[in-house]
Symmetry: C2
Subunit: 320 residues, 2 copies
């Protein structure tokens, strides 16, 4: 199975809720071994690093690989413009100014490179899902939060440091409150947490036995984005409105991205994007209405087929 050790990269994905390590064969995008674990957030950055190094050693062992050729790191939070330092994490304390690639490089005795998770996922999608065809591609991850990774002129574009902050562009002025303190950001309408929040609020006035009530048996704590979408599909009018607001906002944001970046491909990934059918039903007419005639049809809208593997696959390409 292992044909060329030089193509074997150790990929480490530091997420806010989970840590994942894998050995990736970058010649064909195969994941040869993988380990995942919940992020021990209460143990801070040190605990995450320690756990991740153990996962990393484990996947190397699983592949009977003494040492990786390189290590690629994806981090779920902002990193510095030169990609050498983690700036912070919104989920785990103690990540301020940690020189993570250097630590990892010293541990495994090989070069290591890092980027944020949206950029890593964009790179993975561009290589293995878009097959490096588009010169310019916008990847949008819609899960708990919403972020974008930009492949422009066949390279990751990060601006001074954190370009692609699509989650916090204002889509509806004076709209719902966002986690960032602003109102009407894309996240405040379309992120997993925002759909769940709107669902919980609607549940307060929901009729006992309505599809929304049934989806969670009246228990607000159980209500997540997936269940709100399910209730909308079952004909719940309030859940339908929530989904309509969420995916209309996404349609406007995507149209704006197409007008601003003029990419050949917009790729959608992340947990919420699994509701592909529901998303398209709302979004397509919005995008059709929002786009300038010259931009229409030049850009392909595509859903990720990598089922969450794009981040690890992209991380593996970072040290090249």
């Amino acid at each position: 199975m292992i044909t060329d050790a030089h193509s074997h990269v150790l990929a480490l994905d530091f997420g806010g809720t989970k840590l994942a390590a894998a050995v990736v064969d970058i010649q064909n995008g195969q994941i040869l071994a993988q380990q995942r674990q919940a992020t021990p957030a209460e143990q801070g950055a040190d605990g995450s690093i320690k756990t991740m190094l153990t996962l990393g050693r484990q996947v190397l062992k699983d592949c009977t690989l003494a040492a990786p050729a390189r290590v690629g790191i994806s981090f779920g939070g902002p990193v510095s413009g030169d990609c050498r330092t983690v700036l912070m994490s919104n989920h785990v304390p103690g990540w301020e100014n940690v020189p993570l690639p250097q630590l990892v490089s010293e541990t495994f005795g090989c070069p290591a490179a890092m980027d944020n998770d949206a950029n890593a996922a964009a790179l993975g999608s561009w290589w293995y899902d878009a097959h490096r065809e588009p010169d310019h591609m916008v990847y949008i991850q819609i899960s708990t939060g919403i972020g974008a990774g930009l492949v422009l002129k066949r390279e990751i574009y990060r601006g001074a440091a954190i370009a692609g902050e699509i989650g916090h562009i204002t889509v509806v002025p004076n709209g719902p409150l966002c986690v960032c303190g602003k109102h009407g950001c894309l996240e405040s309408l379309t992120a997993g947490w925002a759909i769940a929040r709107a669902g919980r609020k609607a549940l307060e006035n929901a009729v006992h036995g309505s599809p929304l009530w049934q989806a969670c048996q009246g228990d607000a704590d159980r209500l997540d984005a997936r269940l709100v979408i399910q209730a909308a599909n079952a004909g719940d009018p309030t859940a339908g409105e929530i989904i309509n607001d969420a995916f209309s906002a996404l349609g406007i944001a995507i149209a704006n991205m197409i007008l601003l970046y003029d990419p050949q491909t917009v790729m959608l990934g992340g947990g919420v994007a699994r509701a592909q059918r529901e998303m398209l039903a709302v979004m397509e007419p919005v995008i059709e209405r929002e786009l300038h005639p010259l931009s229409k049809k030049r850009c392909k809208l595509q859903f990720s087929g990598l089922e969450g593997r794009e981040t690890l696959l992209g991380a593996a390409h970072l040290p090249l």
Copy 2:
């Protein structure tokens, strides 16, 4: 005065309302000779080309220059992704698929290169106003229309063809009708024509003798963006609201651009941007409110100091 003929570039700017030709010394950004003329729109593309070639020969003669080293062309409308063909003009008929650089190159017997006017202006501003300091710069031209030119990684970024279409991103969903047929585009609130339109509508109910009425002596046909701004400055509350809506929308759009491109500089040019004081008074608190803490203060907001010369200066750099 003329020291090195190789640094002398003929710059041609095809605008919807005016044509301009200049000889530019690209070593120092000096315009050695310049000629302008109203665009003979009724004579179509052929008439514009003929007039422009005459202007070009005239400025060469004014500099006693037998032939230019190169010709740079700025076009006020979309051009093809490879910059070899004009796609169309919104102002002058007959520009569909015209191979303008080839025509110009054959006429003057030297290489010629073209881009749209927003990209040319961005390049001119980056060279001679930002002095090539920012690696990433967004140039926004706010005049009759609104467009952006993007210098990313020290080069013009154009996407598949026409990236930077900031004028038609939706800023206020269901907002005012735009020339493009959509509602709530940035142009529909902030372009010169939109400010004038809102002023003319307000004039219908304006009190005789109010600052708005006085600015145009009650004559709607005389009311332009400059006069609406003047009325707002004179304390007219309705004109004040129009300006507030216009520049708040611009503030949101600029904040969105900073979140998406993470540039070191945002440069504002064009006629409406001459109202620098009025713009900043409204925009600064909006941008402050809209920006993610990590983006704040990393980006410099600058007004063009080139007084409209940026397009010709940038055009001169296109054939390099």
